[in-house]
Amino acid sequence: MPTLFVLSHAPGADPGEAHKLTFARDGDAVILTEDAVFGAGAAETSLTGALAAADDRGIDVFALAPDLAARGIETSLETVDYAGFVELLTQYDRAVH
């Protein structure tokens, strides 16, 4: 019964985004959207550690491509467009934003 965690706040503005990941489990996934994609680039943010730990625990991490493009952020994460985001919503049993 895996869950998709949706993040949308800038990592430096909202420590709750990293905190949310403490509720994620193996097989769950995370998608960075809107200002949360500032945590998808090369810069060290309050999400960096939490995302690395999530990855180690078998939690897939995605980032929303149009939000990355709008902000000029390049990422090594797997990216999806809106259609891919919808697809993720169907693949996971529920979403927590």
Partner: protein, 116 residues
């Protein structure tokens, strides 16, 4: 019967998160849903005793949350957040403190999660 989880992480009074989630919760409580209501992070301040919300024309957040319990809504709070704020988890009954792992269970058991 479907299970809905309300997850509130916003502090009471500075925003409408508590009264709005309370109101939405009333809608679910009158329908065939199992309703869980969980306070995390700054939202656990809703359980602080001694709120005199009339000082700002507001509602006692602890009373609003308590009301939900009378409607068969199951009430939970993040134990770590309570402890960090010095809110006595014994004093918040019938609200049940949960570990991060128990919160993960609660999420995994929900058909829908509404966040505030």
């Amino acid at each position: 019967m479907k299970t809905v989880l309300f997850m509130i992480r916003t502090a009471p009074h500075g925003s409408a998160a508590i009264p709005e989630s309370h109101r939405a919760c009333l809608g679910f409580a009158t329908m065939p849903f199992e309703v869980n209501y969980l306070l995390t992070e700054e939202a656990v301040w809703a359980l602080q005793p001694g709120q005199r919300a009339e000082a700002i024309g507001g509602h006692d957040a602890r009373a609003l949350v308590g009301e939900l319990g009378d409607l068969d809504v199951s009430l939970y709070a993040e134990a770590e957040a309570l402890e960090a704020r010095g809110i006595d988890s014994d004093a918040v009954a019938p609200i049940q403190p949960l570990s991060a792992d128990e919160i993960a269970d609660l999420i995994a058991g929900a058909d829908a999660v509404l966040t505030y």
